[in-house]
Amino acid sequence: MASWTLVGLWAPSGVPLFVRHTGHGKPPPYALIGSLNGVHVFGESHGVTLCTTRTQNASLTWKTYHDSIRLVLVRGSETTGDSSDSSLLDLMFASLVLLLGLDTVTSSTNIERLKRDIRPCFPLLDELLFRAVGGENHQGFSHLTGCAECVIPPEHHALQNEIEKFAESADSTYACVMMEGQVVSGTRNFWTLSHTELVLLPLLVTTNTFTVARDLPIYLPNKSPNVPFRMLVVQLTSHVSVVTLCGPTPSLADMIRSATSFWAPFYQVLEALSSLLPWNIAPALLAQLDNSVIGLLLVNYDHKRCVGCLHLSEDSRSRSLCVNKKSAALQSVYRSIIGPLLQPPAMPPEDFPTGLHPDHLPLESYVSTDSYKVYVLQSSPFHLLVLFPPALPIHIARQVSKRTLAIFTKGKTPRL
């Protein structure tokens, strides 16, 4: 297993603010952290910005935000860094802003206080690291896709109307129903939140699943970096919660009362949602999937949503691949194909054709290894990654992938 380390430094002075480490081994010693910053500063003094480098057994990425916070990501036992490392750092910096506000993070005059202030951000930073490293029970793709992790419910519109009404009753326009960290249904305005916000808000909800109601003061890293909102999270059933972004009212006690009476008539509908777990898609869609499909990731960049299915065909062929491995396979293919070859929002990179074919637009790709095959389709605004057993011939994988895309996108309104 790989190890990932995140180091935060106060850029003007180089003072380390925090270190988060996950995976095997120990975090780098203090002296090394100092040198990590030193290398970067050396470059700066020569008019060079050091972004990323590789050593024999690690890849490193530096990024400085607002001339104040410098984050360094060290990926041990991996020597291939990629563009997703840099966007992971962006999410990590946004996590600090989410809980502290941009001014507190970037204009601190008291470094000791800033160190203390940052501590409550650790669960969120750790969750991002766990996901990136592919830790058990930390599956998810939103940190890669930049889109909200979703489930596709059967009766989408029944909840759609209710969540709009509920938000209105709470003097808010941003609200969503969530199940186990995944968005089931959101208000129209909820989907106007930025990519970063749609990734981080659900993650923040999942960092604490023991409680029945929460009032979390948060900043929206893009929409409102300096004026806080109150994120009210109430757990309606053991699996389903409703999340509302509010101003000074209603109080948490009022929210508990109103959510209880508002949602009580929908108890059966909400409870039935748990039958989507662990597949994440409606039974009608599930039934149409080919038996050879053992996992998939579908992203709709226009709607800022993605859905990952890892529990497919579990009984039959795929016994060799556990959920964790499936997740790792899809993540690894996403990182190596999306970005270098295809780019969100489901377009080839601007600089792609130069030097290759002037009129060559890649639309499909695949990765084949000893333990799996992944077929990748691009059809704006979608990216679809389909995971197959290694033995499946590639031309069949291609056909099945195309049919799979059609299952989700045919009809008047796409299912994601």
């Binding site: 699943t209 023991f210 929460r214 009032d215 979390l216 757990q235 059933t237 053991s238 389903v240 006690a253």
Partner: protein, 228 residues
Amino acid sequence: MAPEWAIGENKNYQQKLLVPGTKKRKLFGLLEKPNLPPAAPNVTYKLFMFGKASSGKTWTMNRLSGQELPTHHTETVGIQCSNVYWPMKIGNRLILFRLEIWDAGESSVKRYNHVLPACREGVDAVLLCFSVTDREGWLELPRLLTTATTPTDRAALIVIATRCDQYANREVSEGELDSFEATHGVPIIKLGGASEDQSDEITHTAPILNFLCKRLWQRDQELLSIKP
């Protein structure tokens, strides 16, 4: 004066608090509650966790609600509430207690002025936490005791001594706890480690929940008898 407490710690009813087929306590959503005989009346109380940073407020709340305990300290963000259901026989009547426990993080209390009032509003009991491994916190306790409740809320006050399982680091003796109870007239609940055997969690926590529910019920009777 004091009523006879015929407390039936009925194991059958405690079973209803668990995830079926496990010994793990179920997390009941707002729209759910344990499946008890419908005739059993429900009573709800609001409890507020009070005490200095890192004194074990969140730990105590998670212990009472039977949820996973964090392995390392993370500061609580904002306000969090847990519902703890507890069936108990009082006299010969089965009553389902719902303890709504409110807990807040220190820096949120400092930065946002709605946090503390929201926690204190309509509170029935304050659980004042301190750690027996922190001498300084112990010396501060009498002062905290006076600010824990306000005369108007008439809240029951219960002190929770946390980290009683950390013998090596202990800085407050049993004797000191006893004399504190006597001089200040407040009960102290001693919270040791969670039982190693997770399957035993509910038996481990039961005496504390019995004590809290009894105390709250008693307070109700006292308040009722004061009212004209």
